[in-house]
Symmetry: C2
Subunit: 241 residues, 2 copies
């Protein structure tokens, strides 16, 4: 078996309320880029939220990372997208709509190259939809199915699924739509893949075989047939598979 | 063109907070069943929520309609499901998960028979997922993609899509996940189908070519490229296509 050289940040959200995009991750990113002398980053904007163009989204990320003195290139500008992933020193997949992202990645046949790049040690940052694709499938996304991908399968560089923007039930709510926890329980009536609910501000710091929960919150763990549990920050969650 | 004999109730939710299932619709249902001498109802439990069996779900609906003296049969008990739909006097598709429902309807080749039954005048009640399938596609569901249907297309007995359990943005929320309105706007970056956001308690009463909004709330109308608008109760929304 090939060595597992994963080096990843898998974050619930790109942006915390009242902060600038990626602001809460800048220190961690700076240390990664400095230690590894990374000078350029390949950005995958395919989930693009709210109808902005891929170029506009890439520009926004370039601005967010300006203080780190790193060149941000969008994959949409590349002639050969597979080679772009193979040659990248660092890759960032941003948030938006997970269906849109997964459709594009399958249409361009990029899911497997992405998986291989991550396993061979290319630094990977995912936020929101970009974190959902680290799981085995995109079937625990909160997003609307505004496009139909050929498959719900994702990279599987984590041995479980992510629920990004995990939201606790709102106390006293009279709304009859399902809570997030109910939705994930329903996922488990048809699927046995464990699910990690990452609250906004939480992220996984993955190095090799370690998958450490970081940030101010505990994370909620859902497994088929058992009651959900909470995992505290600084715990290695790699047992979850 | 064949006559349009639709006779439908398309409801945002089966159950209002603090009420019993279907309680707020019983008067309207009683008048339909009495006027048309309907004595039996075919229930489609395929969206089944929370892992209950199809039989348990059917039993629950039988209990909810007990006061109307109507026999409720679940489609899962039928030898020939297409004939069951063709021969039904009334059909009710309940809520749960829209992906699960749509997968089953496509796998059993029931989408077209359902459409034909509705157009030829079979009374149809839909709640939540059962209302989503009245639109052109299921692409404005709020549900998690816990199963993968072969197609997102639905019956198209309405000329637009439904967003059931429509939820207004929560004022002062610091959660960074998308609001319902943002999600529907994103749907419109890839699709031109209008969307009717039905708040809980709202329903459409469809008779022939008329599609009247009923219940205590206005409904929110989303069209590609224009700002959302509100439609007041008792308005015919059939212009929306």
């Amino acid at each position: 078996m090939r060595a597992n050289q994963r080096d990843m940040i898998v974050a619930s959200t790109s942006t915390l309320h009242g902060q600038r995009p990626l602001e809460y991750l800048l220190d961690e990113l700076k240390s990664v880029f400095t230690n590894q002398s990374i000078k350029s980053l390949l950005f995958i904007p395919f989930a693009r939220p709210g109808g902005i163009t891929h170029d506009q989204y890439t520009q926004k990320i370039g601005d967010a990372l300006k203080s780190l003195d790193i060149e941000v290139k969008g994959i949409q500008q590349m002639q050969n997208t597979v080679e772009a992933i193979q040659n990248a020193k660092a890759i960032f997949t941003g948030g938006g709509n997970t269906f849109v992202l997964v459709k594009q990645l399958h249409d361009h046949k990029l899911m497997q190259p992405l998986r291989e790049a991550i396993y061979s040690g290319t630094f990977y940052l995912g936020t929101s939809a970009g974190s959902n694709i680290c799981g085995l499938t995109m079937q625990t996304t909160n997003d609307m199915p505004i496009l139909q991908p050929t498959s719900f399968k994702t990279t599987g560089v984590l041995g479980y699924n992510i629920n990004a923007h995990y939201l606790d039930p709102i106390e006293g709510s009279q709304h009859m739509g399902e809570t997030r926890e109910q939705r994930i329980k329903e996922f488990h009536t048809y699927n046995s893949v464990p699910v990690l609910g990452l609250r906004e501000g939480s992220y996984l710091r993955v190095k090799g075989t370690e998958e450490i929960l970081k940030g101010p919150h505990s994370a909620r763990v859902f497994k088929a047939g058992v009651e959900p549990t909470e995992i505290q920050t600084d715990t290695d969650v790699s047992f979850l598979k």
